[in-house]
Symmetry: D3
Subunit: 77 residues, 6 copies
């Protein structure tokens, strides 16, 4: 039953990272819901085009996200 | 009103089969909801990339689905 | 693989009609994709609140849809 | 918080028009919800393939929508 | 054709504000796409439960959003 | 940027388990994408009604999923 949809901007993650998201998010879900649910746990990845994801009205490009990833992690408070 | 979204893995179905899904699923919905609803019945098809649909943590490729389609139908119990 | 999402306005269809949509739309999909795909064909129904579905800027209530259903079917051309 | 998803048929709108949709729909939302919500207002654009959006069972191509846009606006009643 | 889905947390906006979102977002879209598209422009509102929308791993309640709305608007730079 | 939507059947998981899904799935995503992305990682939970999720044409109730959870885990091959 659970359906998990992961939406990203294209060109930010490698195919290997996307496969890792599918595997690890499935494992995370199964750890909570029980191993018996694994076969009906669907985790999918979809990508939106660069410039088609706006935050506060500003369209984010692939390059914007790459730049954001490179920033030092903010202090957690 | 009804909105029906059909999501598939790319490369599994032909354009003709996708058009058939739109026509036949619309007819199926209209048979239940009433012919007067036809004009506001939207049926759409979207495709995800090969390898971006995980079942039980294993990413399904177009080839995997093609292989599955070729299997003899399981006995219905 | 196929995932089919049917979205409706609440209060328009009975539980029996919604179950019928799940069964019949599944059968329609399986007729196109092959019987071997039945076990991985998911069809779901979701309902939006009355007044939360706008067409051309006018919010549709459950009563509006009921009235529409009662109209004679338009001539198909 | 608000998430706004705008779905279109590919090839109908220019990148400039899609950026305009993100900006103007964000402004419209913020005018209702309050300026403090701007930073957590996400507006996204996604496109479906030509022929993959059915209305009343008839698949709409990019050309169909272009033709529709060119029609004189219907009288509002 | 365009389909616009607005997702909110329940209990933050009044029915009047949600109707206003449907009307104003439709007008914003029609101003870009052309008046001829009004009749096939669908704008819908859906609400998620309080505590079911996580940002950075922290679940947002209706009260959290209300508090955020009350904050003075950040300086736009 | 990443948006993760988790869809469940209502009544299967406790509020505590749903909060755990939001926290743990966020952590899993951040471990792959980088800590700098935490603030723009949204993870949401949505629930469908009992009987509104069909697998192979059979509508799944909350009780069906509870029974499935209680089954011993299948052997992984």
């Amino acid at each position: 039953m659970p359906l998990v949809d992961i939406q990203l901007i294209e060109g930010v993650f490698t195919p290997e990272q996307k496969r890792e998201m599918i595997e690890k998010v499935t494992d995370t879900m199964v750890a909570i819901e029980g191993e018996a649910m694994r076969g009906v746990t669907w985790v999918r990845v979809q990508e939106l085009g660069s410039g088609e994801w706006g935050i506060g009205g500003k369209a984010l490009s692939t390059a914007d996200v790459k730049a954001l990833q490179g920033m030092p992690a903010p202090q957690k408070g």
